[in-house]
Every structure is written in structure tokens, then in C-alpha cells.
Symmetry: C2
Subunit: 432 residues, 2 copies
């Protein structure tokens, strides 16, 4: 192993067998953590070639269960987001794309830190369960075209263990390691094609479009080596997506969007990602046709019906979907007002995400309980003009003592200008 | 700790308290090895400033026993060599400098891999013991002006633990880490001033004069911060030093040198390093005067007498010093002859060191036993002309089966040329 560390440290390429040695040794405990972490730091400085990244991805993918979706007809297209604030895209996109005939076998995660998770949002609907056997999962997709569940414990154990080590050794921030982590999981889940939504901005992991492009190209490279179609869409996470941040609040906004009257940015993003998925899923010939299909599914109510079908199939209370006032709510709310007049110049997604988490909507650790009714409903976004004392947002929580700290974070989120700034552009770049 | 790793990874300077946190946490086990190794790899790529290196050195130095030599009168000048092949300098320099009135409190190490160690060479003399109590050590120096012992188990434990980790994580080759390792040990041993012999070439750790200069400047920087005088002499380790490689053989050559008829390169090196030590030790005013003093101590027999005094004081058999044929010898010897005619162009010290180790003179692991009589006696050196079948060297061992592999390594050590190459220059540069 010392030789492999030195090889990487000196900038040489390692072959597939060498990566297999490293990962097998790491998982079996034959190679100690202190050698793996030194290797990871060498990777941080010297990077990995596309070939190396694909080798690592493939070896990690094979470290645990490989999901076999071959029983399900059609091209299975998965979507992955690198994570952001107010990102309820999957709740809209899943039923929408399923309604168009693309099978949606969705394994999702939970929220941590300032970002939310699809499973938590789904569970805001009373009774809804994301726990099911593998057979139930496949049966639901066959019958309803869609199912959403948590990841199996034995899905890519190598990534779980490696990420835990990276997290405590300052080796998270490397594009090749990030790409192989994401791609190994998506590929183990049995996706034939993948649309990656790479978020950029204050509330995202990637801070610049350049970084995001680098990551996109690495992911496309892995797809090429592993013969899966991959499309990366780089999107903005400067301000939160839509107006709602927090679990119940986001379910409401997702339902609004499925009904055709959601926020402009969220709707645009869903049509953009969805149109790629329809083409990859071979149900549309081109982007215009795909977007028309999706718009029709929304305006006709078919997409919303598919959402209700999904909720019912996973034992959720459909009456809460029909009347979103019945969703878990918050006992306390505070109106957050502008202290100044001007155009909103910055609406920092990270601070909003942290404020929402502080209100109870997020988890500090994996074991924390979350308040499904807590969160923030924005009233204005970047480029909007506000007078002094105009309402900028409403804060929700079931714990009255959480507001003070959340408000401090809100104060940090906003800057104002006298000149009207451009509205935040949601789609920044597409890499195919 | 993650923050400290990321700080170093991003190229920022850490302060003394932060290094103390790292070393204390490492020794107590509060900071796991996998974080330390990631930190070390970040240091490998981002380096450490002079201030950081001095902080680390000081903290490591204080991690164990601090030797107090204040009972011994005079300026205590230590000498350190970065290690090479045939390097018996301490055996000559110790008695020589002690004879001049500079107290020599020498804590030495053992050989490992292709390099030898002073303790092993001393022990080639029957009965000689390097084990003594601290009080015995100080008493011997007070009485005889010199004593040689092993390092206390609790001398710089931080360096022992850190080096063990560096050794298995590809993080040995960093000048700042090397410098702090060497200097923390020398300073913990109570030296007032230090002469560092930095070896450069095939048989040394440093391969170029530039690398050696970098190391020298870092060591001088540490000395400056810690208020100790440090002089670095960069010397050649392209070919072995002198003609003898192996424990008994080297003792013989050291005695020859103390008597005034040693090899030219070894004699020159001892006069060079010794003259610096006499000036630092405040017994000579300038280099010329110092060299004259040393030459007189050799020609008058005083230096050799001091060596006998040292041997006797450490219970060694002085009769072996008077008649070196009585030293442990080898049952078998093989004459190694030239396969070609020409000038010796290369006489690779690493290969000679490895061949000698293979004959039994070296250790594979710290626990290996060594054959004190084994080794290589060179007959020719770089620049010498040889005819075909001329004897290049004699190989010695007490195990007849070791010769075949050693000879293969010998074959790799030599290249010949038709044009006479320059003799190997021993003193390359002095950094003060």
C-alpha cells in the first residue's frame, strides 16, 4: 500500500487492479485507515484520470448489492441532485415523468445540515411509508410506474465507509471522489441513464460554474466508460429554489407545481430536467416535444393524479394532498419584515437553509428528529423591490424558542441595492 | 482536527498552539492516526514555514526526556549524519574532537536497510557496551571527555510515533518533516551546537545538492529559532565513504584513520567536520588553526589513545584495537574481479550498501541479528583504472550462501568508461 500511496503522491496513474486492492483492503480492514486517508489526500492534490475515476466507481459500485431492474419494462432514467435548499424537484419530477411513461425507481436520501431530503419531505404526508421490501418496490413500479424508497443498507458500502473517512480527513472536496461517490450509488441502483442536476451557488457544494463543469465532465466520463448515458445540467443555488423551505411547506409547493401554478424557477427546472429524462427514456424525440408532453400532463391534471396514486400506493393520506392545509403545520409563526427599502440583491440560500434547520426542519446529526411543519416561506426573491416593513418571509416552528437564532441567520441572508439586479437565472449550462 | 487538516491542505500557516494540539492529540490517541496521516500528506504537498517547522521541532523535542548536560563543562557540540554507506565518521571524529577538548556526549543509533549504525560498529569490539545509566554516561564524559550510548527509550517519543506513521503512509520525503525529526532528537540530547553532515548521492536519502541545500536551510532556520548554532556540510555519498563497508571492517578503517593512514576522503571529511566542531566548541579560533590541531592530535597518537581510552571505559577489549586482526572476522571471503578494463565511472553506494547488508552486515528489520565480520572491502574507487580480472573488492561473510545475491548487487554497482572521470569530491558545500 505504501507503494500505491507514493505512486499517487508522485502523480502517476493507478490501474483497476490497484484500486481493487485499495478498496478491498479498506473494506476487509487489511489496509488501515491511516494509509487510506494519506492516499485520499494524495488524490486531493494529484487528482485521478477519467479512467481511474471510472475504475474506482466500478469497484465501489460492486462492493455491495446491485439492484436489478430488468423486470421493469422501459428505460430506467434516474435523476440526481447534488443538493440544495428548497429542492423539492423529485416530488414534482417523479410523478410527472412517470405519467409520461418513464418508469421511476427512486431511491432517495434524508436531509442533513442545511439541505433537505426527499424521504423526509414524502413522510410529511401522514401515513406515507418509504420502507418496503425489494419485491414490493418492483411491484409498485410495475403497477404505478413509480415508487420512492430509502437506500438499502448494503448499497455501495465502500462509499459509505470511504465518505465517513473523507469527512474527517479534509478530503471531501475533490471532484473525482465526489463523482465516483454519486455515480457508484446511481449505477448500483440499476439506472440505465442518469440526469445529474449540479447545483452551484451559496447553498450548494459547488461554488462556481467552473467547478460544476469539471464535476459534470468527470461524471460524463464515468458514464462513457461504463456505457450509461449521462446528462448534466448545471443550475443555480444562489437563492433557494421556489419559495418554500421545510418539509410540509415544500410538499405544498410541489403540489402547486404539479397543478401548474408553482414558482417559475421550480417549474422551469422540472421541465428542463424532465425533458432530458423523456428523451433518455425514449418516450420523446426532441426537447420541444418532451416539454409539450410535460406541460400537457400538468395542465390536464394527469401529473397531479399520478402524485396522488404514488401517495396512496405508499399508504399516505391522500386527503392531505387534496387539502394541503391538513398537512403537519406549525403552532407558531413569525412574520419576517424588511428593515430597509430596496431591491433584493442577495438571498443567500445557505443562510436560509441554516435558518430553516434552526427552526426544526433540519437535522444536526443523523439521529435528530425533525419538525415536519417547520420552515420558511419566502414572499420575495432576488430582484424584487421591497419597502421598509414589507414582509420578506414567514417563519414556522413548533418551538417558540427557535425563532431568535433563526432570525439572526435570516438577517445574514439578505442584501439590498438601489439598482434593480437581474433575476436569478435557474438553468446555467447543460453538458451532454 | 478536520479544520487543521483543511487549513494545511489550503496552504495556510498553523501556529504553535495548533501544532501542540496535533502532537498532544496524536500521542494521547485523541486524534486518530488517519487524521494525522492526512495532515502529513497535506504537509508533503504544501510544506511548512520556518516558523512552523521550529514549532513542530520544539513540541516534539519536549514530548519526552530532555537531557541535561549542564554538569559537563564546555560547549557540547554534536554531529549528525543523514546516513550513508561506509560512514564510520563518528568513530574517528568522536575521539579526535574529544582529544582536542570538546566534550563528546554521543547518542547514536543502529543500522537499518543499506546504511550502518555507529552502535553496531562500536559493538564489533568484543565486550564493548553501549548500555549505561544516565549517571554513568555523564561520569564517563567528565572523566574521559567522551561516551557513546544508545538513545533513551523516552527520547522524543513523538518523533518515534510520527516516523512510524510517515514510513507507512508515503510521507517520509519532506524536508521540513525530516529536519524537525533530526533536530528534535539532537536538541533533546542537550547539544549547544550541531554540525550536520548532509549526504547526497546514490547511497543517501537526498539525491541532489539542491534538495540537500533546502534541508540545510530548514535545519539552520530551526537552530536560529531555537538559539543553537548549526552548521551544515553537504558531502558526497555517490560512492561509499572510504574503502570499508561492514562493522569490523569499518572499525579497522576508523583506527587506520585515527593513526593517520586512513582513506583520503574519510580523512578529509573528518578534518572538515572536526574543524567546525572545534570552532563551535570554542577551542580553536579559525579553520586553519583547528585543522592543524586535529592533524597534530593524529600524528602524535593522542587521538588514537583517546579512542583506546573510550573503548576501555566502555568495557571493550583494547587488544582488538591494538591488533585489529583480532576483531570479529568472516569465515568466508570472495574476491570480486572486474569483468572489463577501464576507468571506474560509477561505484553506486546504494548497491554496495545493499550487497553488504545481503552478506549479513545489515538488518532487514529492527529485530534482525547482524554478522559483525561481514562486509565489503573495496580495492578501487571512482576514477581508478582497472584491467580485466583486477580485484575490485573482497566480499566477507560467515554464511557461504549469501555471496550469490551480493555479487548480483555488486554487478549493478559499477560502470566503466574509457575516459578518466574526475575523482569523487567529498566536500560539496558548507552552509553556515
Amino acid at each position: 500500500m505504501v507503494e500505491l500511496i507514493v505512486k499517487k503522491r508522485n502523480g502517476q496513474e493507478l490501474n483497476r487492479d490497484e484500486y481493487a486492492t485499495i478498496i478491498d483492503g479498506f473494506l476487509s480492514g487489511k489496509i488501515p485507515d491511516y494509509q487510506i486517508s494519506a492516499f485520499l489526500m494524495a488524490v486531493y492534490f494529484k487528482g485521478m484520470s477519467n479512467k481511474e475515476t471510472a475504475s474506482l466507481t466500478d469497484i465501489m459500485m460492486r462492493s455491495g448489492d446491485l439492484i436489478d431492474l430488468s423486470e421493469i419494462k422501459g428505460v430506467k432514467v434516474d435523476k440526481h441532485s447534488t443538493g440544495g435548499v428548497g429542492d423539492k424537484t423529485t416530488l414534482v419530477l417523479g410523478p410527472l415523468v412517470a405519467a409520461a411513461g418513464v418508469p421511476v425507481a427512486k431511491m432517495s436520501g434524508r436531509g442533513l445540515g442545511h439541505t433537505g431530503g426527499t424521504l423526509d419531505k414524502m413522510e410529511a404526508i401522514s401515513g406515507l411509508s418509504v420502507d418496503m421490501t425489494w419485491q414490493e418496490f418492483v411491484e409498485k413500479i410495475k403497477k404505478h410506474g413509480i415508487a420512492v424508497c430509502g437506500q438499502s443498507a448494503n448499497l455501495v458500502p465502500a462509499d459509505k465507509k470511504l465518505y465517513a473517512l473523507r469527512d474527517v480527513t479534509g478530503t471531501v472536496e475533490n471532484e473525482s471522489l465526489i463523482a465516483s461517490s454519486v455515480m457508484s450509488k446511481k449505477l448500483a441502483c440499476g439506472a440505465d441513464a442518469i440526469v445529474i442536476d449540479i447545483k452551484v451557488g451559496h447553498g450548494a457544494f459547488m461554488k462556481t460554474v467552473e467547478e460544476a463543469e469539471k464535476l459534470a465532465h468527470i461524471m460524463l466520463g464515468i458514464g462513457k466508460q461504463m456505457k450509461r448515458k449521462v446528462i448534466a445540467v448545471i443550475t443555480s443555488m444562489q437563492e433557494p429554489l421556489g419559495f418554500a423551505v421545510g418539509n410540509s411547506l415544500e410538499v405544498k409547493e410541489a403540489i402547486d407545481t404539479l397543478k401548474g401554478h408553482g414558482p417559475k424557477d421550480l417549474t422551469e427546472l422540472c421541465l428542463e430536467l424532465g425533458s432530458h429524462m423523456l428523451i433518455l427514456g425514449e418516450v420523446s424525440k426532441n426537447r420541444d416535444e418532451a416539454k409539450d408532453t410535460l406541460k400537457h400532463l400538468i395542465s390536464s391534471g394527469i401529473a397531479f393524479d399520478k402524485f396522488k396514486e404514488l401517495v396512496a400506493s405508499q399508504k399516505g393520506d391522500v386527503s392531505e394532498v387534496d387539502d394541503t392545509n391538513l398537512l403537519p403545520n406549525a403552532q407558531f409563526k413569525v412574520s419576517y419584515k424588511s428593515k430597509t427599502a430596496g431591491f433584493i440583491n442577495e438571498l443567500n440560500a445557505l443562510n436560509i437553509g441554516l435558518a430553516s434547520a434552526k427552526l426544526g426542519a433540519g437535522r444536526k446529526t443523523k439521529e435528530s428528529k425533525i419538525d415536519l411543519g417547520a420552515g420558511i416561506l419566502l414572499k420575495k426573491k432576488i430582484g424584487d423591490f421591497v419597502h421598509k416593513d414589507d414582509e420578506l418571509a414567514v417563519l414556522y416552528s413548533n418551538n417558540n424558542t427557535f425563532f431568535a437564532k433563526a432570525i439572526k441567520l435570516m438577517d445574514l441572508a439578505y442584501t439590498f441595492s438601489e439598482i434593480k439586479p437581474a433575476k436569478n437565472q435557474i438553468i446555467l449550462k447543460t453538458i451532454v
